[in-house]
């Protein structure tokens, strides 16, 4: 009897460690299968001659840096990179400022604030492609509602070429994306605002702080973790933009709205050169990874200061 107890005691830490791993195993397998494998595969693919032939023969000969050279030799890559950055930063700034303004506005709770807030969620519920089709009509140079409106109020006499001029198209795509992104920003930030204790505002009011000062000194600092989440999630979904651009402008006019997303789509699915498509895909992954690391760092710093 005492011997068995002794043995089970001796084994139990190892057994418990095994159980612990068993619990982690499903998550680990899932990560390996659905994140690890595609990632490794994508990196490998960028060094392979991966064409329609590969699908039939199963052969994808390694071709060194050829794909990378071809992609980097294309002047379009540089344009697409900068346009992606402008698009991302522009979208985030627009979505965030307007989302924040609306969140603060609605946190005051007035009559009908609930229904109005619900209406503002609509852009989020409409499928992206539908939004794009509608916006294509709104922004039509000759007959679009937007230009008619601008003409009526006297802001512009001859139509703004929203989607037909290379110097305006990127801005137009950003505007539409801001419209799409406002609800997400508003909802998350509104949720964050509800978490801030009312007493802080009362104390600030007693100390004579005005609304502007209260916002900068209380609301924003208290909201910091939420803000980081909103911006990082926003960044991740914006930097890889594809569907909106495809439906609005198809990357044009004159490549002025090409992004890394549309470029990788073009290379992989229109030219069927999956090796070169993977190169651009990898560039996108690296960009996202850099921001993920920055986010984790910021998070750690936050927790550090909190202790």
């Amino acid at each position: 009897m005492s011997r068995t107890t002794e043995r089970s005691r001796a084994r139990s830490p190892r057994v418990r460690a095994l159980y612990r791993w068993l619990f982690v195993l499903p998550a680990l397998l899932y990560m390996l299968a659905f994140f690890g494998y595609p990632l490794v595969r994508n990196v490998l693919m960028s060094f392979q001659e991966f064409t329609p032939r590969t699908y039939f023969t199963g052969e994808a000969p390694f071709n060194g840096l050829e794909n990378w050279r071809a992609v980097f030799d294309d002047p379009l890559l540089k344009d697409a990179f900068w346009q992606t950055m402008v698009f991302t930063v522009g979208s985030l700034v627009g979505q965030f400022t307007l989302g924040m303004a609306l969140a603060v506005f609605f946190s005051r709770r007035f009559r009908l604030s609930g229904p109005v807030r619900a209406v503002l969620l609509l852009p989020w519920l409409v499928p992206m492609v539908v939004s794009a089709v509608v916006w294509r009509r709104i922004m039509d140079e000759d007959h679009g509602v937007l230009n008619s409106f601008l003409e009526t109020v006297g802001l512009s006499s001859d139509g703004v070429p929203w989607l037909s001029s290379p110097s305006v198209a990127l801005l137009s795509v950003i505007l539409v994306n801001v419209w799409i992104g406002i609800p997400f920003n508003m909802v998350i930030l509104y949720g964050g605002l509800q978490e801030i204790p009312e007493e802080l505002y009362e104390a600030a009011a007693l100390d004579g702080a005005g609304p502007w000062r209260t916002f900068w000194r209380i609301t924003l600092p208290m909201l910091r973790p939420v803000v980081t989440v909103v911006l990082v999630l926003g960044f991740m979904s914006t930097v890889k933009i594809l569907d909106l651009v495809l439906a609005l402008t198809g990357g044009g006019p004159a490549d002025s709205t090409q992004t890394l997303g549309t470029l990788t789509y073009q290379l992989s699915f229109l030219r069927l050169d999956f090796g070169q498509g993977a190169v651009v895909g990898n560039i996108l992954i690296v960009i996202s990874a850099v921001f993920a690391v920055l986010y984790l760092r910021a998070n750690r710093a936050d927790q550090g200061s909190g202790r």
């Binding site: 619990f23 699908y55 039939f56 140079e141 070429p161 989607l163 006019p253 004159a254 002025s256």
Partner: protein, 412 residues
């Protein structure tokens, strides 16, 4: 201690069970193919189109004791879906591809030459054979083909006392004259994708442009200059850089364009409305006496290689029947495309006087991939870049073509 151990054990069992369920779920995807069924991958996602296809398939398969099963995905996903199927050895017995995608598939060596599966190719038009061929071997057969023509608003032209233009000069002046109020004289698609490129080709080719040497000769530049002029003079909307062929048709149907370049696939929409009376004319050429050279379009049916040769033969039998004179004619009338057998095309021409110009145009029409083969997607992109940068005023026609040639690379 023992209680907590028991709980852990039970949970561990649950974990194991989950893993087992997952494993079972992942296997067992591939079904055993039925020897009497011929499978088809096509883009007939539209219900009416799907049923019409099924109708023709049944008509051919039933006497042979076969059944046809269609798998339909949106047109722009056919190629990638087919590739995924190929990698898992589950490709359909018949693969219907857009003609411009054929070379990339033929190059893989995964398609069976159409002559080897018993499809009668004698009597098919040269342009349709070229559409289904890669490096002098025919891999795909087109039941019917389409092209582009000038479609015009008969009322507006009659009011202005104009005949449909036949040359570029006439096109310029007619477009200018027809422009007024809310209406542009001319509309075409110049979107930076396959639609825009398809529409640019008749101008590019008939002016002497060569897709394998984009910047050579003055042809390409004069075609670009024509488009630019139409837009700059206000005869054509600046928005064309953002219009696909559907948008162009919408403009025409709403009376905002007096003339447009478009294809016979718009006929159902044109027929379904009463606001605009329309007619079809040949596409204008640089000068009198020059043959129009529009691109030939349409899908081709191919037979992927199969270890089971009997399946290939069955597919071949169905294809042969679909391409009989009567079936081609019936199908052509169903989809407003021109049959590819000479006699069928002649009958079609007689029975559809309204669409007769298309029947003439497909005779001189050229395949996009005949010269550059698998490099077509790159060359097409380069051409799109050229007309987009010219129309938006970013570069001159000559510079744009030099740039395009660099982009197309190799011998292009």
């Amino acid at each position: 201690m023992s209680a907590s151990n028991g709980r852990t054990r039970r949970s561990a069992a649950a974990v194991g069970l989950t893993a087992a369920t997952l494993a079972v779920g992942l296997t067992g995807c591939a079904a055993e193919p039925d020897p009497d069924t011929v499978t088809v991958l096509n883009s007939a996602t539209d219900t009416a189109e799907h049923e019409a296809n099924q109708d023709f398939f049944d008509r051919c398969a039933e006497p042979l004791g076969l059944r046809v099963e269609q798998i339909s995905v949106p047109a722009d996903q056919v190629a990638s879906k087919a590739l995924r199927m190929a990698s898992s050895d589950s490709l359909t017995d018949i693969l219907e591809l857009d003609g411009s995608e054929l070379p990339q598939f033929a190059e893989t060596d995964g398609l069976r030459p159409i002559g080897e599966v018993g499809v009668e190719t004698e009597g098919l038009s040269d342009s349709s054979i070229s559409l289904g061929s890669f490096e002098d071997t025919q891999y795909g057969v087109a039941r019917s083909v389409n092209s582009l023509a000038l479609i015009y608003n008969t009322e507006l032209l009659a009011e202005a006392g104009l005949e449909p233009p036949t040359t570029w000069d006439e096109l310029r002046s007619a477009a200018a004259e027809l422009t007024g109020g809310d209406t542009y004289g001319m509309a075409f698609s110049a979107s930076p994708d396959a639609d825009g490129v398809y529409q640019f080709l008749p101008f590019f080719w008939s002016a002497g442009g060569d897709e394998s040497r984009l910047a050579e000769g003055g042809g390409g530049a004069s075609a670009l200059a024509l488009w630019k002029e139409l837009v700059d003079s206000g005869s054509t909307s600046r928005s064309v850089v953002n219009w696909n062929q559907q948008d162009v048709n919408d403009q025409f149907v709403s009376g905002r364009a007096a003339m447009m370049i478009n294809g016979p696939w718009q006929v159902p929409v044109l027929d379904a409305q009463d606001d605009v009376d329309w007619a079809v004319a040949s596409i204008p050429v640089p000068e009198e006496g020059v043959d129009p050279l529009p691109p030939i379009g349409g899908t081709v049916m191919t037979v992927p290689k199969n270890d089971d040769r009997e399946r290939e033969r069955n597919a071949g039998r169905v294809l042969d029947c679909l391409n009989s004179r009567e079936n081609q004619l019936a199908w052509g009338e169903r989809v407003n495309n021109v049959p590819t057998r000479a006699e069928a095309a002649a009958t079609y021409r007689e029975q559809n006087p309204k669409l007769a110009p298309f029947a003439d145009l497909v005779e001189t029409a050229r395949s996009r991939t005949a010269v550059v083969g698998t490099r077509w997607p790159v060359v097409g992109d380069a051409l799109a870049g050229a007309f987009q940068s010219v129309l938006t005023g970013r570069s001159s026609p000559e510079d744009a073509l030099r740039n395009a040639q660099r982009q197309a690379g190799e011998d292009g």
